[in-house]
């Protein structure tokens, strides 16, 4: 990607910002905040291929996107019904192109859980939101969050009061509708000893070349537990870039499960900071890339406090011209003695044009730790294949079964049974010879 091209992308971002400015909320203070973010973004530029953490991304494809902010808030109802089929959650929130759709959202129950439109919170209480919402840093890995900051206007604010344990999950559907970009902010605050099951489902209503950019912050107070499941099923041309920051206080547990089963490009930056003793995090990820899909997962787990635990497990399947990359950094700081960290990345590469890039990184600054990571890339095990063939299963089905079993490593960890079933079906749907495999699973 030439620098000149890059410059034009930035120019387009600036123009989009000028065009949108008049209709963004929050008054002068928020206008200023957006302007500062834009200026910093323009001064520093977007990262590019020369940046080690961004080198495997398809920048030409991203540069082709529109960065202008969409102002749509309507989506076909049947799409939503389809996405929700069989799940019927009590609490549902819908975001259309990053905008909170009041008419489609319903929050029930008396657990105290609130999920509000960020736009509404900006208008009601601009100052307190300004304090709660993080200002992205200058780091290259935070550049897309800076982009979201430059357009911050809507999204969702989820708050769980201290000690609250809502009985069912909160279900958030993100729908991309068209050619404009969406820059949604997601803010999750889990009070002490609270519990939250959050499901984010990303779909699109058209095959248009969309760009969705999400900046998400999750803060967990003492003893809080957040299960954050994220399912990506966008259209063949949608690009999704996201920056997720989670901060964990003492004895909190954050579990994120990510399933990339659609879309053209998914780039996910996930950074978890274990700031309190006893904090633990689990990251589970599965990506299946075929055709010319690209999944680019970048995770950073920082052990800041002593006695913190992390467990990361990522599985990738690349077929067709699919490209998958996993870049996982574990940082154990000088004060994080007794940290226990495990990371496992396994990848299947199933076609001659597919590609897998893995970078399991460890940075350890103290001695009293237990850290290990393992990464493998290869094809299906020929012994396992032979076993199935020798029992009369045809090669296609055998391969499908083994691939499915490989993905089950992650899918089986989904706690909600109906959701696990749903994801299993999606995984089977991505395999060759799916009908036969369905009989087995």
């Amino acid at each position: 990607m030439s620098v000149a091209n890059r410059g034009s992308t930035l120019e387009r971002i600036e123009q989009a910002h000028l065009a949108a400015r008049g209709r963004l909320r929050g008054g002068a203070a928020w206008d200023r905040r957006r302007r500062v973010a834009l200026d910093r973004l323009l001064a520093r530029g977007l990262p590019d291929r020369r940046d080690e953490n961004w080198k495997y991304l398809d920048w030409a494809e991203i540069d082709r996107r529109n960065f202008g902010l969409s102002d749509r808030s309507r989506a076909p109802g049947e799409l939503l019904a389809g996405a929700l089929s069989g799940l019927a959650p009590a609490n549902t929130v819908v975001l259309i192109d990053g905008r909170f759709a009041d008419d489609l959202s319903a929050i029930g129950g008396d657990s105290g859980l609130t999920a509000e439109s960020l736009a509404a919170v900006i208008e009601r209480d601009p100052e307190s939101l300004s304090r709660a919402l993080r200002v992205p840093g200058d780091d290259a890995d935070d550049r897309f969050a800076l982009l979201a900051e430059a357009f911050v206007d809507d999204g969702i604010v989820i708050r769980v009061p201290d000690g609250a344990t809502p009985s069912g999950p909160l279900y958030v559907v993100h729908i991309d509708t068209g050619r404009e970009a969406s820059h949604a902010r997601v803010l999750v605050e889990a009070g002490s000893a609270s519990r939250l099951q959050l499901i984010e489902h990303f779909i699109s209503s058209s095959e248009a070349a969309s760009l969705s950019n999400v900046a998400c912050e999750v803060t967990l107070a003492e003893g809080a537990s957040v299960e954050h499941l994220r399912l990506f099923q966008q259209g063949e041309n949608s690009v999704h870039v996201e920056t997720i920051q989670a901060g964990q206080a003492r004895d909190s547990l954050y579990r994120q499960q990510l399933f990339m089963l659609g879309g053209r490009i998914l780039r996910s930056n996930i950074c978890v900071r274990l700031e309190g003793p006893g904090a633990a995090c689990e990251l589970h990820g599965l990506f299946m890339v075929d055709v010319s899909r690209l999944a680019d997962l970048y995770t950073v787990i920082e052990h800041v406090a002593p006695h913190t635990r992390s467990n990361e497990l990522v599985r990738g399947v690349a077929t067709g011209r699919g490209r998958g990359s996993f870049n996982g950094r574990i940082v154990v700081g000088a004060g994080a003695s007794k940290a226990d960290s495990r990371q496992s990345s396994r990848n299947l590469i199933l076609s001659p044009l597919a590609e897998i890039n893995a970078r399991p990184q460890l940075e350890i600054l103290t001695d009293d730790v237990k850290c290990s990571h393992g990464a493998t890339t290869g094809s299906l095990d020929t012994n396992q294949l032979f076993y199935l063939l020798s029992r009369g299963i045809d090669p296609e089905t055998a391969r499908g079964l083994l691939t499915f079993a490989f993905c089950e490593d992650v899918v089986a960890r989904v706690a909600l049974p109906e959701l696990r079933r749903h994801i299993e079906e999606l995984v089977v749907g991505r395999l060759p010879d799916r009908d036969v495999i369905k009989e087995f699973v």
Binding site: A334, E355, P360, L362, D367, D368, C371, S372, T377
Partner: protein, 482 residues
């Protein structure tokens, strides 16, 4: 533990064993680098025109390049104009014809280093090419090697005697534009070793080079080129030391290995450049480019390195597995004590079919040392059946040090099998306790455990080097337990 701690203190205070300066008159160019210096170096060496052209091309390339910053090492900027780019022990006549003519003071230096030159060379059966500052001082066993057809000489001699081989192979593995320090080395390298093993010859003895930086304010830029022709085999050892000085000195070497069909090269390094004192003052910046090209079918290149010295080590001995069925190996022990920093690892580029590579890296961090493994395993679309196994283990001693792992795996072929494993741990209290209750001192126990940790690498070293490496590690580590 009180008495053992005292012992430890005594050993910590022990000085760098090789930190002496040999008082020899030397001819040194004044510090600074411009085109004239490059021309002068070439003229002093009486090089043919093609070498001068090549150096100048490299120099011009270097001027356009920026110093790389990506390694996880920190150091004040190097002033390339304050370094002297050529330093040679002064010669009385035209240079020594045999060992007897070598300046006895030089030989004494090597005696102190314990390298097997002269009679000891015969006993050890090692042919040594010793590089003192920038020029090659003596090459032993030339006769016996010549009988076998092996060319083993200093680089300058090779340029004069075998220009066709140099012209054919120089810069084909590490091109001048490869990186900043390789370009610098290509412009100003003063000497080094050249080995050519002809077709079908198994080199009758281990070849060895000893490098030493002696003069003040000099950089050492040596160049090693080893060519193993079809079906040949050679094992090459390299050792390095430098005197103690408060300034940092730059060492930017380039090593190129070429293995043709069915050839095998085994390259072992025991690097013990002065690491700086316990406060991180002084020491060598060891910024080295090493690369092997398995150009022929069934060829094999094996790197073994024990890195205990240098203030900063920054090097990645790599293998380009171009020929079908070629094999690349990398075994490394890197130690970072006090304020040492090491950023080292390897690249295995699988291009040919059924290529295999093994990487075993053991990093030991103590004191304030920072140790990083950085490696790339790349399987290109044509490399059917490629296989890689990587194991990186880190041992941490003390809560001020760091161990880092930055592996890259880029796989573009579905038949590849690539595995990477890494663990980080400290010496467990249980292991230590077990040894202590059996009357083994804490220090010996740590040595035993560390040696066990490094065993898979040490067993790859030629025997006499393995012993030296073990001792070196023990000395470098002493005092880090407590």
């Amino acid at each position: 533990m009180a008495s053992s701690e005292q012992d430890i203190q005594a050993i910590v205070a022990r000085k760098y064993r090789h930190g002496f300066v040999t008082d020899i008159e030397s001819e040194t160019l004044p510090p600074g680098l411009d085109e004239d210096v490059v021309r002068l170096i070439s003229a002093i060496k009486r090089e043919p025109q093609f070498m001068l052209d090549w150096r100048l091309k490299a120099f011009r390339q270097w001027q356009r390049m920026k110093e790389p910053k990506w390694a996880r090492v920190h150091y004040p900027p190097v002033d390339f104009q304050s370094i002297s780019y050529y330093s040679a022990p002064k010669k009385s006549t035209d240079g020594p014809k045999s060992l007897d003519e070598v300046d006895p003071k030089l030989l004494e230096t090597y005696d102190k280093l314990g390298i097997p030159l002269h009679e000891r060379a015969r006993l050890a059966g090692v042919a040594v090419d010793a590089v003192f500052d920038s020029v090659s001082v003596a090459t032993t066993f030339k006769g016996r090697l010549a009988d076998a057809g092996v060319i083993f000489s200093s680089f300058s001699e090779a340029v004069l005697n075998h220009p066709e081989l140099i012209e054919r192979y120089l810069g084909t593995v590490v091109p001048i534009r490869d990186n900043f320090y390789a370009a610098l080395n290509s412009a100003v390298f003063s000497d080094g070793s050249f080995v050519y093993v002809p077709k079908g010859v198994r080199c009758p003895m281990e070849l060895s080079t000893y490098f030493r930086i002696n003069a003040l304010n000099t950089g050492q830029f040596e160049r090693t080129l080893i060519v193993a022709d079809e079906g040949s085999h050679v094992s090459y050892l390299e050792g390095c030391t430098a005197p103690m000085r408060d300034e940092n000195q730059l060492h930017a070497a380039v090593v190129e290995l070429v293995a043709l069909d069915d050839a095998e090269i085994k390259y072992s390094t025991v690097q013990n450049w002065y690491p700086g004192d316990e406060n991180g003052r002084g020491g060598i910046y060891n910024f080295v480019t090493k690369r092997g090209d398995c150009r022929g079918r069934n060829s094999k290149i094996s790197w073994t390195q024990v890195e205990t010295g240098s203030a900063i080590t920054w090097k990645y001995p790599s293998c380009i597995l171009r020929g079908d069925n070629s094999v690349g190996e990398f075994y490394s022990v890197a130690l970072a004590n006090n304020y040492q920093q090491a950023d080292t690892g390897t690249k295995m580029i699988h291009m040919g079919r059924n290529t295999r590579s093994t990487i075993v890296s053991k990093g030991i961090s103590a004191g304030h040392g920072q140790n990083a493994y950085r490696g790339l395993v790349k399987v290109l679309p044509g490399a059917d059946g490629a296989r890689n196994y990587t194991q990186c283990d880190s041992l941490l001693m003390g809560d001020q040090c760091g161990a880092h792992t930055f592996p890259y795996m880029e796989i573009q072929n579905p038949t590849a099998v690539v595995e990477h494993e890494a663990t980080t741990s400290k010496i467990s209290d249980d292991q230590l306790f077990y040894c202590l209750q059996r009357g083994i001192s804490a220090e010996d126990a740590v040595n035993m455990i560390v040696n066990g940790f490094c065993k898979t690498v040490f067993k790859e070293l030629p025997m006499e080097f393995a012993v030296e490496a073990q001792n070196l590690l023990a000395v470098s580590l002493e005092g880090s337990v407590g």
